[in-house]
Subunit: 160 residues, 2 copies
C-alpha cells in the first residue's frame, strides 16, 4: 500500500526494499509510521507465528518495530527540520547506528501494538529517537535508536 499517509510511502524506490518497512518487499512487515503532533505513531498486528513464549510477542519483532519506526521518524524529523513535509519531496533515508530495547513486561500476542516515537536530538546527519511499544494501553517495551542518514554513495556506515 502506498497511499501517501506514511513516511515510508515516500522513500525512494531503492530504499523501499526493507524487510521491516519497505513497501516493495513482498514478504516484509510493511511497518508504516506517521506524525501525530510532535510524536510519531505506528500500529501493527503481529502474525500468529510472531510468538516468543505462547501468548506473547517475539522480542525480535518488537526490536524490528522499534527499529524501523525510529529510522522512519528520524527521516521525517530531518525533513520537517528543513521545512518539508511527507509528500512534498522524497524522504531522506536513515539507517540504524545503534538500537537499545528494554523489555518491561511480556507483550500480549493478539492486540494491536502501538509504537510511539519522540525525537530526542538532531545533530548533523544523526537523529536520536526514543520509542515506546504498548498493547492495550500498557507500555511493554521502551527503545532508543541512534539513526544515521545514508550518505551519498552509501557503503561505509552501519546499515540496520
Amino acid at each position: 500500500m502506498r497511499d501517501g499517509t506514511a513516511f515510508q510511502d515516500h522513500y525512494a524506490e531503492t530504499y523501499a526494499q526493507c524487510y521491516g518497512c519497505g513497501r516493495l518487499n513482498a514478504h516484509g512487515l510493511h511497518i508504516r509510521s506517521r506524525w501525530e503532533g510532535d510524536e510519531t505513531v505506528c500500529t501493527f498486528v503481529p502474525r500468529p507465528e510472531h510468538t516468543a513464549i505462547p501468548g506473547y510477542v517475539y522480542g525480535g519483532l518488537i526490536a524490528s518495530l522499534i527499529d524501523c519506526h525510529s529510522t522512519g521518524t528520524a527521516a521525517a524529523a530531518a525533513q520537517r527540520a528543513k521545512g518539508g513535509a511527507p509528500g512534498t519531496a522524497e524522504m531522506p533515508r536513515f539507517v540504524t547506528g545503534s538500537l537499545h530495547v528494554d523489555y518491561l513486561r511480556p507483550t500480549p500476542l493478539g492486540p494491536v501494538l502501538e509504537i510511539r516515537g519522540v525525537v530526542k536530538e538532531i545533530k548533523g546527519r544523526k537523529v536520536v529517537v526514543s520509542s515506546t511499544l504498548s498493547a492495550d494501553g500498557l507500555v511493554c517495551a521502551r527503545g532508543e535508536v541512534v539513526a544515521v542518514e545514508i550518505p551519498e554513495g552509501f557503503g561505509g556506515v552501519g546499515a540496520g
Copy 2:
C-alpha cells in the same frame, strides 16, 4: 530439525514455539546455537527478503539473531554452571530483559553469518551475554543481552 546438537533442541515443548529459535515454529528462523569451548556459536543464512538497503542484511534480523543466540547462550551457561550439559536434561529458558546492538558496518546479504557469544556475568536468574555478528570474517555488529530465567508461573517479567 532436532538432532540434539543445538541448545534449542533441548527447550521444553512449551518454550520451543519462538519465532526466532523455536524448533516447533513452522514459519520461524530456527536459530540454533552450540558450545565451542567457552564461546557459543550460531550460523545463519538470511533469506533474500531479509534485506535492508539492497545488498545488505536487515537490522531487525540482526537484532533477532543476537537476541535468540544470547538467550540460548544464557540457558546453556546456566545449565553448565550447575554441572549439566545440553542433552542431559531439559534446558532452562531465558527471556530478554534488554537488548543492545551496535551496527558497526553494513552486513552483506549472501554470506553465512556467524554469531559468537560470550558470557559476561551470571548473577542469580540473570545472565549477561555479549555477542558479535560477522560476515566473511569481519565483525559487522556487536550486541549485549541481559537475559532473565523464566520464573515458575511465568508472567511478570520481560518476554523477549
